[in-house]
């Protein structure tokens, strides 16, 4: 062995020692610099996963609310908002579910929040309920008419003008403005639900108008009156007078 080392030229020995030193230094530095768990599962620090997993959860999830607010969850689960999680509107709830007294969740009561989903935007999918908030009762907050946990139109249209807006606008300009629609049109209740199957009635006789406008009726004096027997007897009244705006000739 000794004789072997003697035969190796000195410069090679030095180079060899240098190499050994460098390799050792590399291994030493690497063991210090590379985290011990690096490469455990792959080319990364295994404890990074732990750090990411230990991040704080802020959204509690849609299942926990039922434990306390069962009444609202029961109300919501039959309505159109059944798939809208509570935290969509009320915000992240994990702090609240951990300690209900500590943090009370907020509810958006102002008008600006609902249009985030329900403002009319042409890009929205067809059939999604949308409104133009500028003309949809602009002065009222949405929740004054719509229960957000079970939203629906506030009622089935109570007044005729919900559907017959044009007639209603015309009539509002006429002397017939105080004549309710139902004085001339007997309207079955089902008309509001199935408008084409249950039609309101229409006056059919001249005598119907004569109830107010005939000479011998007992209605107030300011109502114009005519002799129903001699006034245009060949025609029905509404062939000349448009009942919703009778001033027009």
């Amino acid at each position: 062995m000794n004789s072997f080392w003697k035969k190796v030229p000195e410069q090679v020995t030095r180079l060899f020692l240098m190499l050994i030193f460098l390799v050792t230094a590399f291994i030493f530095m690497r063991s210090i610099l590379v985290p011990p768990d690096f490469g455990k599962y792959g080319h990364y620090r295994a404890s990074a996963i732990d750090e990411i997993i230990s991040q704080e959860i802020k959204y509690a999830g849609h299942t926990v609310c039922y434990d306390c607010h069962d009444d609202i969850v029961d109300l919501k689960k039959t309505g159109y908002h059944k798939n809208v999680a509570c935290e969509v509107c009320h915000g992240p709830a994990a702090l609240h579910t951990d300690d209900p007294g500590e943090l009370k969740l907020q509810a958006p009561r102002e008008r600006g929040y609902c249009p985030l989903c329900h403002e009319y935007i042409s890009s929205r999918p067809t059939g999604f309920p949308q409104i133009v908030s500028a003309s949809h009762n602009p002065m009222k907050p949405c929740i004054s008419c719509h229960e957000p946990h079970d939203p629906k139109p506030p009622q089935t249209p109570k007044e005729c003008d919900a559907c017959h807006a044009e007639i209603s606008r015309t009539k509002s300009l006429s002397h017939h403005v105080y004549v309710d629609c139902i004085e001339c049109h007997q309207t079955p209740n089902e008309h509001k639900i199935k408008p084409r199957e249950y039609l309101p009635s229409k006056p059919t006789t001249r005598e119907f108008c004569g109830n107010c406008h005939s000479k011998d009726s007992t209605t107030p004096e300011e109502i114009p009156k005519i002799d129903i027997n001699s006034h245009g007897e060949r025609y029905m009244c509404w062939q000349c007078h448009y009942p919703h705006l009778p001033e027009a000739q």
């Binding site: 062995m1 004789s3 072997f4 390799v23 291994i27 063991s31 985290p35 768990d37 690096f38 490469g39 455990k40 599962y41 792959g42 080319h43 990364y44 620090r45 295994a46 404890s47 990074a48 996963i49 732990d50 750090e51 990411i52 997993i53 230990s54 991040q55 704080e56 959860i57 802020k58 959204y59 999830g61 849609h62 908002h81 798939n83 809208v84 999680a85 935290e87 969509v88 915000g91 992240p92 249009p115 985030l116 989903c117 403002e119 009319y120 935007i121 042409s122 890009s123 929205r124 999918p125 999604f128």
Partner: protein, 265 residues
């Protein structure tokens, strides 16, 4: 004769030398061999203490473009959950509005990532042929370019297919931000490290769904296992014709879009 003997002794010396050299060199590999031997034995600790085995899962997300109403609740929830800065340009997920006009022009906008929803487009309604919203996020590619370029191993793919960033190890060199073809990464202005969607890894390992999925009011986002049969995502994938973003790049995304227009990129 003498010559022959000499040669023999030289042979023995050489053999001895080579033997010694091999032994001493193999000593250099010893730490590696030892760690390789212990690696398999230690797999079941750390995250497994949660009762969650990443090898049993493969996560993905389905997005139904026909259902997205562009309300931006997902963007908001993501920022709330993950503490993403509220300023523009820092998004782990965002929603784009596509408007395709009759002159074949396509306009894509995403005002502040749609965190406050969208305003109606007013003047050009008549010229729009198609319009829709596209939620976007990290695609958690099966073949992720961002992981390939990371010089320090700070971004990686876990066994369950999620691409994560080790923010303590990241040096903020921005290579991954450049490499991502979907623009899903950004540099956190406070930590100066790369940030991106984690599929809410801290939630999904605890059997919760990601925050954006949790709050989506129309169920436009569906999260779940790709491979297990009884998963809402598998059902979604079976029922729709699926597309992915930039399929030609061969990144093999795990975010699948249904009802996607060909204009979507």
């Amino acid at each position: 004769m003498e010559k022959v003997n000499n040669q023999k002794s030289n042979d023995i010396k050489r053999r001895k030398f080579l033997k010694n050299l091999f032994l001493s060199l193999s000593g250099l590999f010893l730490p590696g061999i030892v760690s390789a031997a212990t690696k398999t034995g230690r797999l079941k600790d750390l995250i497994l203490s949660l009762g969650y085995d990443p090898k049993e899962h493969l996560w993905g997300m389905g997005i139904d473009i026909d259902k997205c109403i562009g309300c931006g609740r997902c963007v908001n929830a993501c920022k709330e959950e993950n503490g993403v800065p509220r300023d523009p340009f820092f998004f782990r997920t965002w929603v784009e509005r596509y408007r395709i006009y009759d002159n074949r022009e396509t306009l894509v906008d995403s005002p502040n990532g749609a965190i406050d929803g969208f305003k109606p487009s007013i003047n050009d309604e008549g010229n729009i042929i198609r319009s829709f919203f596209v939620p976007k996020l990290c695609n958690h590619c099966d073949n992720p370019p961002c992981v390939q370029v990371c010089p320090v191993g700070a971004t990686f793919k876990t066994d369950d297919g999620v691409i994560l960033v080790d923010s303590k190890y990241c040096i903020g060199c921005r290579y991954c931000i450049q490499a991502c073809p979907y623009g899903a990464r950004f540099l956190d202005p406070e930590t100066r490290t790369a940030e991106k969607c984690t599929f809410c890894y801290h939630r999904i390992t605890k059997e919760l769904s990601p925050a954006c999925v949790e709050v989506c009011p129309t169920q436009a986002r569906i999260f779940g296992e790709i491979k297990k049969k009884p998963s809402p995502l598998v059902r979604f994938m079976r029922q729709h014709v699926l597309g992915v973003l930039k399929p030609a790049l061969n990144t093999e995304p795990k975010v699948f879009y249904a009802n996607m227009d060909m204009e979507v990129r």
